[in-house]
Amino acid sequence: MKFQPYQPYDVMPGDKVNPGDPVTVDRYTAGARINHWITAASLVLLALSGLALFHPSLFFLTALFGGGDFTRFVHPWIGVVLFFGFFGLLLRFWRANLWEGADNTWLARISDVLRDKEERLPEVGKYNAGQKMVFWSMSALILVLITSGIVIWDRYFSEVFSVEQQRVAVLVHAVAAVVMISIWIVHVYAAIWVRGTIGAMTRGYVTGGWAWRHHRKWLRELVSGGRRS
């Protein structure tokens, strides 16, 4: 049997340390970044068009989409784009987001996270417990939203589902969307608060110091070239 070098579960294709001064660490490939931004753009457009139809005082947002009729028409199609966009992200990132024991410790010390006392936290792999929770709750919510969304997609499915099923779906869709928008706010805020993060999704790399500070286990794994550190 051929020797397989140990590959930590949270090292993704393209992750690489570039020694030098300063050290940089490749975090996302161009493919992953394009995939992310297609999904992100769909999510923002969905939130705006969805909120427009959710609360009357936000109906004015339909103007961004060329009026109410077009908002109603385009919202489900953007949802389809988001579904497949996120499916791509799921395939790319699911492995690195598997839950492990240290994540429970991290989560138990969430107040240290918020108070920026990272020295009290276990060393973190590619993703911390918060990021993993965002990832998995997004996965679940998108499944709920696409399913309930199809039930209330009047143009194509009005005769497939009963009115009572549509009533359940419209409520579930609204509640899931609210939770999703809130999680999206957490996701965006975390990226802003933890300085140096956004570059990972724009140019594709972070500084060595960022990786040391926030994802030390992942950095060690990359440095030791796949061997157990």
Binding site: D21, I185, G208
Partner: protein, 313 residues
């Protein structure tokens, strides 16, 4: 009883923006300076002969055409459609008390609820309005075709057109009522099963009919003016008012679905609150604890790790 033609020489009734008392997805309009008399259409099911003149008159007045269908051996036309705002529904029912076969015929269509579920569910400002005389009307230029009214309606009435993607239903001939005329269906009905007038008059007329029906052995005859939607502006006289569901599924005690109430009530406000609180928490956290920056020693440590161990590995 002979119903005179409504007065057409004094069409001051009108139905204008100032008569709107409820408007979908909008704050309440100011109380109108005048309140029109509450109107109602009375459908006396016991007098209906199932001729469908009302259906024809409805299509005629609204200038709609239905595709010619196929006879499948029953009198029923398939269903309400975006063109067909009213429909005879036929039921053969065996009365368990007498063993008689009763042919129940009900004219289905919008009930013009005092508490309209369609209007409550509608997200488009002004796409559904209620006038002070009780008529609930769809304003098509504001309709976006989302189908929320279908979910709001306790009677399953609105239909979305596959052609222009707008919602359609009976208008109670608001355009005729506005100039002092009764609805086209009432005008065409050969047995005066359908009559139109003020709600007070219609309830009084219904009472007379119920007394008559009771004297002829229909002990449970009564009026259908369901309180769950705070009454309707289309009311029925039923010979079996204790079992409205035998009339092709006329709902017993209809009301706006609690799911719709929750969606358009609590969920709307709680949802916006959750989003705002999450955003506020982020803002507050940033103000209090400031950005989480990478320190120079982090970069030093990374350099040590990557430039020594990295090379030897």
């Amino acid at each position: 009883m002979d119903l005179p033609n409504p007065n057409v020489h004094d069409p001051k009734v009108g139905l204008t923006e100032r008569d709107v008392i409820l408007r979908s997805a909008s704050s309440l309009p100011p109380p109108p300076e005048r309140r029109l008399t509450s109107v109602a259409k009375l459908i006396d099911v016991s007098k209906c002969i199932g001729c469908k003149a009302c259906q024809s008159a409805c299509l005629e007045w609204n200038n709609m055409r239905e595709e010619v269908g196929v006879n499948t051996g029953v009198y029923d036309n398939p269903d309400l459609t975006p063109n067909m705002f009213t429909l005879m529904r036929f039921t053969e029912w065996v009365n368990p008390d007498s063993g008689d076969l009763e042919w129940l015929i009900r004219k289905d269509g919008c009930m013009h609820c005092e508490d309209p579920g369609c209007l409550k569910a509608c997200p488009a400002p002004g796409a559904i309005v209620q006038y002070s005389n009780g008529i609930v009307d769809f304003v098509h230029e504001n309709c976006i075709g989302c189908g929320y009214c279908v979910k709001g309606c306790p009677f399953n009435i609105p239909r979305i057109s596959k052609v222009d993607h707008k919602a359609y239903k009976c208008t109670l001939c608001s355009d005729r009522v506005a100039v002092g005329q009764g609805p086209a269906c009432a005008k065409a009905c050969p047995t005066q099963c359908i009559s139109f007038g003020t709600k007070e008059e219609m309830l009084k007329q219904a009472e007379g009919r119920i007394t008559d029906l009771k004297s002829r052995g229909f002990a449970n005859a009564g009026v259908y003016d369901p309180p769950g939607v705070r009454g309707t502006h289309v009311i029925y006289v039923l010979h079996h008012a204790d079992k409205p569901e035998i009339y092709a599924g006329l709902p017993n005690n209809p009301r706006i679905s609690p799911l719709v109430d929750l969606w358009k009530g609590g969920a709307k406000y709680a949802g916006m609150a959750v989003i705002v609180i999450t955003a506020a928490f982020g803002l507050l956290h940033h103000l209090v604890s400031g950005p989480n920056r990478v320190k120079p020693e982090d970069e030093e440590n990374a350099k040590k790790l990557a430039n020594t161990k990295g090379r030897s590995a």
